[in-house]
Symmetry: C2
Subunit: 296 residues, 2 copies
């Protein structure tokens, strides 16, 4: 696919995920006019910078600016911590590393925050005043629009709904604590649970599907295919993820009285509105005031 702008001016948006890096070329009407993607290198920051530069080149269109969303804490332009990428152990100067490889100015934000910003400016949350964004990917990310503007918190790390506790002392999370919602609903932790259950004798097609589709891990597409086939283990784990996401969303709605919850990320994109509806149904019994404004 090659990029073509509608009015001559395009920007590139880069989504750095735990599994893939995806670049979209966006025109002045907020339409994505071209996309490219590649697996996320596991060799650390330099490999990621190279891949981003290659993808921006491949997508074409000569973007006037490049915006990068990264799954970690971003504060004053620096990447502070990136728990879900291999080889990112210390502070990384992503803007500097990319600027030397690209001809356009580079800006940076937490992926969940900039993802919700996009939905708020031009997507599902347009015009809303108080919004929670819930992103299901390798981990569980989140973003907040509160009182009509993006909310980043005192150190730039607000929105971490993935580490809202839903079963304190329960399942081990990638952060080292027990019982965060990410421990039940993040794809990495769900894959670990699937492997452990297979070792314990459970049957599933998840790993055959992964091999058939030539994937290095249990991607969202693998999970979606397994659900299509009514794989019992996949249904059990996605069901548990939804139940625990419902608890976290219920807690957040009670605390923040948001009017809208936007659900996005790899698995929701594959499963569509059905997954958002399931999360809403799981959250509603926990909400203090489900009326008069339903969330969806």
């Amino acid at each position: 696919m090659s990029g073509k702008s509608t009015d001559g001016t395009v920007v590139a948006g880069v989504d750095v995920g735990g599994t893939n890096i995806e670049v979209g070329l966006v025109d002045g009407d907020h339409e994505v006019v071209a996309r490219e993607k590649a697996p996320t290198p596991t060799s650390g920051p330099d490999g990621v910078f190279d891949t981003i530069a290659e993808l921006v080149g491949a997508v074409g269109g000569d973007p006037v600016a490049v915006g990068v969303g990264i799954p970690g804490v971003v504060h004053e332009g620096q990447v502070l911590t990136v728990p879900n990428l291999e080889g990112w152990s210390a502070e990384v100067d992503l803007v500097g590393g990319l600027s030397s490889r690209l001809d356009a100015p580079v800006t940076l934000g937490n992926d969940a925050n900039v993802g919700l910003l996009g939905e708020w400016v031009a997507g599902a949350a347009k015009g809303a005043r108080d919004v929670l964004g819930l992103w299901m990917g390798t981990g569980i990310g989140g973003g907040l629009i509160l009182d009509g503007r993006p909310y980043e918190g005192s150190r730039g790390s607000a929105g971490e709904i993935g580490h809202v506790l839903v079963q304190p002392g329960g399942a081990l999370c990638s952060c080292g604590r027990r019982g965060c919602v990410e421990a039940y609903a993040g794809r990495r932790m769900m894959s670990g649970a699937a492997s452990a259950m297979v070792e314990a004798g459970w049957k599933t097609h998840l790993f055959e599907i992964r091999e058939d589709e030539d994937k290095p891990r249990l991607t969202s597409k693998v999970w979606a295919t397994a659900l299509d086939e009514e794989d019992a283990l996949a249904e059990k784990l996605v069901g548990a993820a939804v139940e625990h996401l419902g608890v976290a969303v219920g807690s957040v709605v009670n605390l923040l009285d948001v009017e809208l919850v936007v659900v996005g990320g790899g698995l929701p994109e594959k499963l569509g509105q059905d997954l958002a509806d399931r999360v809403e149904a799981a959250a509603r019994p926990w909400m203090l005031r489900p009326e008069p404004h339903p969330t969806d």
Copy 2:
């Protein structure tokens, strides 16, 4: 006690609690120059209006305005729901009911929200940008200052940290759900648990202290006295309250990245900084980023 202003202009602040109604006369320097209190009538709104009017009269000082904090949802000047007061079942026109009994203009807010507003304007949270207020009383209330201004949510009911879930499916809460932090740390639920444990054979001095102090229920003072006496049951229940408050505070700090948590209400006023320190110690292990700004 009689009210005396330092510059001639005073306002009256009214705290309507589940146990007591307290009126303070406040001067232009934010100093409380007189106080009066009385038990909260259980006969419904009219009894409460009468008691407030009597207390405002008793406190004296001819206030130029009366501000009321009420333990319920306040939206556009109306009291929508008041879960912790007896006889308040429907929408109540508190401003109208009080205005007919008082000579000063009356304003109204949720008690937790206006309590935090006071701490932010003139108290423990002065100058902070992102703050959680946590009030321990008959129930558990909360308020939020986010991005340098009070945050009320889309329907005026933000800040309900009492109904953040800490053990979904666990202890029954006054809201009818199971596992809210209020089910473990609200004084009404703690009293219920104490009664049930005594029926089941546990020993405690809580109920003797209540009789000695001639209190109609297990007030904060009764709990504080029992803790002073190292009453094992009181210590167990307060310990469980602190542990569960720690989980809720941890979840909220992870979600909102607040820089400060202010702990207030009846029991914290009796127990002082020690209780705030215990809540902080219980919350810290659940925080994704306990550094660099400690909460207290």
